[in-house]
């Protein structure tokens, strides 16, 4: 196999909301979901992964993420380190930090549009995971956003769950492994 991105088709997904399904190309389409979990997308084949998401939401709200193993979310607040957030909207550039999360910020959602790319570094490895997300969202017409967070446990995770703080999400995502 040549070097490059490899689509990681989930072994299964779990959702709350109207509908979600696994497409034949490995992507996952979801409609009006209040949570969506992907299982079996992180494997021993690759160390690092990229997740692309296009979505709309019913609310202007943060979307949260939890790592997941064998169908169970890791939800202990003490196991997630700092969540760091940079944003630029209108003429304002700002930043925020949260230190007591039981789930980390994934991206900020809005009803018009959002496009986001998240990088998961070593989620399947038995070592702490790092995640970085960059995206564009239609909040106040256009907002640039970037999130970074880390997880403290040296555990192996094969998937993740994401969900909005409020309302529901509709869109499509694909997980890619970095083959090298």
């Amino acid at each position: 196999m040549t070097n490059g991105l490899v689509v990681m088709t989930p072994t299964s997904i779990a959702y709350s909301g109207t509908s979600a399904s696994i497409n034949s190309d490995g992507s996952v389409v979801f409609s009006a979901c209040t949570s969506l979990s992907l299982n079996g997308v992180f494997t021993s084949d690759y160390d690092n992964y990229m997740v692309t998401i296009r979505a709309t939401g019913t609310n202007d709200t943060y979307v949260r993420c939890r790592l997941r193993a064998s169908g169970v979310d890791e939800s202990s607040a003490s196991n997630y380190y700092v969540d760091q957030y940079l944003y630029a909207l209108s003429t304002t550039v700002g930043a925020a930090r949260t230190t007591t999360n039981g789930a980390q910020s994934f991206y900020f959602s809005n009803a018009q549009r959002s496009g986001n790319t998240a990088y998961f570094f070593g989620p399947f490895l038995a070592q702490p995971t790092a995640v970085r997300e960059v995206g564009a969202v239609g909040y106040q017409n256009a907002t640039l956003q970037e999130f970074a967070w880390t997880h403290s446990l040296s555990n192996s995770y094969d998937g993740f769950t994401f969900y909005p703080n409020a309302g529901s999400l509709t869109g499509l995502l694909t997980v890619f492994g970095f083959n090298q």
């Binding site: 299964s12 709350s16 949260r64 304002t92 925020a96 039981g102 703080n165």
Partner: protein, 78 residues
């Protein structure tokens, strides 16, 4: 609060179940935590905006123009 979770497998099978008490409790705790975080974040943003407005007013009182305030301190005078 109650909700269902549907699992979809690659072979097309689906299973729908009620969320467990632990899952319901987690979601309820999440909602409380997220609301507290939203309130704190908005308070911090309001405080920062007020401090920025105060700084601009004091600089302008010293005789600086809006362009000078923006160029020297990066503060957008609106």
């Amino acid at each position: 609060m109650s909700f269902t979770i549907t699992t979809v497998y690659l072979d097309g099978r689906t299973e729908t179940r009620d969320a467990t008490p632990e899952e319901v409790a987690q979601r309820e705790a999440d909602l409380v935590a997220f609301e507290a975080e939203r309130v704190a974040r908005e308070a911090a943003e309001a405080q920062a905006a007020a401090a920025k407005a105060s700084a601009i007013a004091k600089l302008e009182a010293l005789g600086l123009t809006a362009d000078e305030v923006s160029a020297a301190f990066g503060l957008q005078v609106t």
